[in-house]
Every structure is written in C-alpha cells, then in structure tokens.
Symmetry: C2
C-alpha cells in the first residue's frame, strides 16, 4: 500500500513553524562581520512575537506579518481599514515585546483591477495609523497579486534589560490582560451573520461591536508601561486567550501552569447580546478567538501595584506550578483547558 504524502495542512501552522525553526537554529552565521556586529544573537526570539538584534545596550525589534485578503480582511472592511489593520498587527507584536515602534515598511500586492481610489484609501489608512502611533513609513513597494496581500515589517527599539518575552513567567506571578476580550470575535460574528443581527442591534450597538473587528488598536503604550513596570512575560492575544496562555507556559523553562477566573475576564456587555443571537457562547468568544490585540502578561504582585494606576489592566488569575491551564468558571468549578485557537493551515 503506497503511503499517502503528507500535506502541510495535516500538521498545521504551529508545528510547521517549529519545524522551520528547528532547522534554522543550526545556521548561525560565522563571518567576522556578523560576530563583530552582534556580540550575541538572540535565537530565543525566533519563537517570540518579533526577532531581536542586539545593538549596543538596546535590541532592535523586528516583526513581519503577511496579511491576505481572503483570510484577514472581511468583505465589509473598507480599504482604509485594511491599510490600518496591516500596520496595527505589526505594532501589536512590537507592543508585546515592550518596544518603542520606529517605523514600518510595506510590501504590497494588489489585483490590477483595484480602483485607484481604493488604493489611495488603503494608503491613507496606513499613513493615518503611522501618524497616530508616531512612526515613519520607511519604504514600500507594490506587486501584482490576485488578492490584496500586505506584508508589513515594523521596527522598534527596547532596552535589552527591559525586553518582554514569552518566557519568564514565575510561579506566584499574577496573570493579567490590558483590556476587554471577545469583542473582536463578537464583531466578526456579526459580520458573518449580518442578516440575523440586522434588526436585533441598533446602529449605536452595531457600530460599537463592529469597531473592534474592523478598527483594532495596538497596545503600544501599555507594552512600554509593562516593560518599565517589570512584567515577567508578555504576548499579544492574536489567536485567543487560552492559546496564548499555552505559548507563555511552553516558552517557560520551568514547569509552570496558569489558573484563572472566568468572571474576572473583562468583557463588554454587548457581547452577551451577540452571544444570545448567535450560536457562539460568550466563553467561546472570550477564550478561543483572538484579534482583540490586547496584551496578556505576567507580573509579580509587588510590581503589579506600581503599574495598576498607570494603565488599564485586569488581573484574571495567577501563575501556578501545575503545568496546566485551569479555569474556575462562574459556578466555581475547575475546568482544565487545552490550548486551541485560530490556526492557519490546519485542516
């Protein structure tokens, strides 16, 4: 019997990346120039939200995200919002490392029949977001593709002793997030089932709920505050809370776990309205959907007291030594959760 050849969708994005990285660890440059410039190269950053290059007392932080219209931009997203999101996803990765963003380069692919006015709006969205976060558009090029494809590469800087990584969480640390969760998921739910929601929500509610999906923000200031405030680990929530908890646990060199309380997770009341009308539970939207671009971090209780007045933060639980992710639900029961979230290339 001939063995069936494996497709990449048989193993999924996360294992693909591990496969890629396990191979790349072997190839570190040997040139004297490389060694002169980088007294060390931080390969641990390969599995983090962004790559780190040591320059003097600082790290240059570099992140790159490829967004592809059919996967990342719902049809309702305007060209300006598409441009905005292409910058935000990269800034969010820099925020997760505690970096001060400096600039972005945009490599863009467009279908030839894209209207010039839509191109202009998309560029407007990119530039407005650059202005809002006070970064420079450092370069850009355009190519021809079948669907809009935007690859942003953002650069930032952070002091080497202040960089936030996925690893570093300690037993006894608090687990916290920078804002409400599940709102983007609720927004996408409304977009995907618009007929069902058309008359159930008033225009103000519709605007409020769609805003989270269509016009996300990056928690840059919060990332800087967490870096100053000695958070022990951090990542941005792009694939869902539980999935990102799994990332922080896996990145630790200790056998840590997390325990959190369902009723401590901050949500907007309106997502309960969305949940009632849709098939999705609030829990599902809050735990397993990402795109809110909030930061998930750990911090010692002492250090937490010094940051809590400086920004919006919500403690949801603590770092344990269980090796597991446990949720105390609203009824007081302990639930064992398995990291899962949105994953590309997973059939």
């Amino acid at each position: 019997m001939p063995s069936k050849k494996l497709k990449i969708s048989d193993i999924g994005e996360k294992r693909l990346i591990k496969r890629l990285l396990s191979r790349s660890q072997k190839s570190i440059p040997h040139s004297p120039f490389f060694k002169r410039f980088f007294n060390e190269i931080s390969l641990e950053s390969l599995e983090d939200d962004a790559a780190l290059l040591p320059i003097g007392e600082q790290y240059l932080v570099i992140t790159s995200d490829l967004l592809f219209q059919p996967s990342h931009f719902p049809p309702e997203m305007s060209p300006q919002e598409i441009g905005m999101k292409s910058v935000i996803v990269n800034l969010s990765d820099l925020a997760a490392m505690g970096a001060q963003p400096l600039g972005i380069i945009m490599s863009m692919g467009f279908p030839p029949d894209l209207l010039l006015e839509d191109f202009d709006s998309l560029v407007e969205g990119i530039l407005k977001t650059c202005e809002k976060y006070d970064i420079a558009l450092l370069g850009g090029d355009t190519n021809q593709t079948d669907d809009i494809t935007l690859c942003g590469t953002a650069l930032g800087m952070v002091d080497r002793d202040k960089v936030l990584m996925k690893h570093g969480a300690q037993e006894g640390d608090l687990v916290a997030v920078t804002g409400v969760l599940g709102s983007a998921a609720a927004g996408f739910e409304v977009l995907l089932n618009y007929e069902r929601f058309k008359d159930a929500l008033n225009p103000k509610e519709k605007y409020e709920i769609l805003k989270n999906a269509l016009k996300p923000n990056a928690r840059v200031k919060e990332g800087l505050g967490l870096s100053e405030g000695k958070a022990t680990s951090c990542t941005d929530i792009t694939d869902g809370l539980v999935s990102e908890m799994g990332e922080i646990i896996a990145a630790s060199d200790q056998a840590i776990g997390m325990l959190f309380y369902e009723d401590k997770i901050p949500i907007k009341p309106i997502i309960e309205v969305v949940s009632r009308i849709s098939d999705k539970s609030v829990r599902e939207m809050v735990l397993y959907y990402g795109e809110d671009f909030e930061l998930l971090f750990t911090i010692s209780p002492q250090d937490f007291s010094s940051i809590q007045d400086k920004m919006e933060v919500h403690v949801i639980g603590e770092v344990t030594s269980s090796g597991r992710i446990e949720m105390i639900d609203k009824e007081g029961r302990t639930n064992l959760l398995v990291p899962r979230g949105y994953e590309h290339l997973r059939s």
Copy 2:
C-alpha cells in the same frame, strides 16, 4: 457622461509607488524618542532599493520583497529554488546599497494542500542561501494563501559615508555592470517555449541557460567592493538595464544622461542561440529584461582603476549631461532609448 473610475493598472507600479511616497513624505514622526534615536531620517532612501535608518556611524539597511507564485516563480522552479530566490531578491537590494547583509525574516503564505516535502525543500532553499551568504534566518511565520507567497525582509549595515544610492552619478563617470546581462531573460524564454527548445539545445546548454533564470545569485561581495571603491551611484538590475539607467538618471539632482555601447554589454554566447530560436532579439533580452541581479553603477575613471582588478566589472559607457539615454549600436548609429522594463500592475 459618467467618468470611468481609474484602476491601478491604468497608471502602473512606478507611478503608484511615487503616489504612495509623495503622501508618506508628509508624515515624519514627531516623538522625542524618534528624534533621539534618529538624529536624521533619510527619506531620500524611500525611492531607493532599501530603506536606511541611521544608527551611530552606520546605516541599518532594510529591504522587503513580496514574491507571489504566479508572477515570480515559473512552474519549472523547484520548491528549493523558490526558497533560494526569495532570499536572493532581498540580498540583491542590500548589495545595491553596498551593505553587509546580516539576516532575513520570512513571512510566508502557503496553500493548505502544499506537500510537506515541498515545504521542507523550500525551507531548505532559504536556509542554504542564508548559509551561502553567511546571514541568519531571524524569524519566520506561515499563513494560509491560495498561491505560495513569500515576503522576505532583509537587514544589513553599511557605513554612512559608504552607502550606495541611486543618486550621485556625475557627468564624466563611467557606467558599468558587474556581469553578463540577458541570461535570465534567455532562461525564461526557454522555459516559456520549452517545446521549441527541447531538441535545439543539448543538456549542458539547457542547464547553462536555465541556471540564470532558476538559480540567480546576489552580487553582495561586488556591492561591498563598490561601496569601498567609491562608486557614485548603484542599483541592481531587476527590471532591465535601460529601466534602471532611467532610475539613476531620475534620482540625480543634476541633469545627467547616459551613453553606452551595445557591443560593450557583456553577454553569454548562448543567448544568441536562444534568440535565433525564439522571437526575442538579443537586444530586447539584454536591454529590457531584468532578473539577472547584476549591479549597474557609475564611478569616476580614477576610482574605477582601483576596483577593476578586484571583481568582474564591465564598463559599458559613460554619464553625460544630455538628459537622455543613448545607445551606440553595433553599426555605430546612435539610438535614443526610452526607459521601459518589466512593470507590475501595468495593463
């Protein structure tokens, strides 16, 4: 009569980029951090092969290229060759700035039915090329797309007083290239019309001609040599010789032109064989097709004498004050050439 709405293909890639850049020049960050970090930001680099960020006495050079299977990878290109090319195009941009490459980040999109063995070969191609040029793979992520989409972002460093830009050519400078032209064009010609060439070329010839299209090199060492050797301007030939000449002329703040001799352009004899069998003249392949990834540069006659023994270089003409591109053909006639080359998004 309602006016027809313009599509981006009505204006083409080059004008789109100018449109993008003219808007972005207005948005330079104002934050004290930005000003502390960058005592200046070199916006002139926006129209060059890569972006420049001043760090101390050096520039960090950043370039990003988006490659899309239907446009950039002929079906005959193996997954390993696809991986190689995705690194080479970026290294070529760094070479054109005279920069020492340091590392690359790859954002990749794959169709879910891609075979795992092809994914592995592609990654192998990326890593082999990183090893060959002694750079690090600094990070990578994967996404789901319909066609293979590779966005590489490469970083390099160059001393600030040695950076090579498109501007800077002076009247009286020599115009030169680092190697033979038209070979990649001939290779693509064979690939596109394989039936016609199948029996006309022997295997050795086929290998020789296809190699240029399928396994290009980046002129990194030559770029470094030209940077040390005081070339006055430089770019890599991705869109064709005449098109790149037009770029150097347009980038100059003086009214310069170029005059060159058709019979001085270095070619491989085999492209004459390809030309005889195909409909394409040697002249067309040499002047208007790119992808050879050779460097086109200008340099003073005195400085040229110090570099000519250190690398392969071919003087093909000189910088004039005509404002035009003139070619003296093999018959001794002067031809006025208009920059055109491969351009994306041009209908």
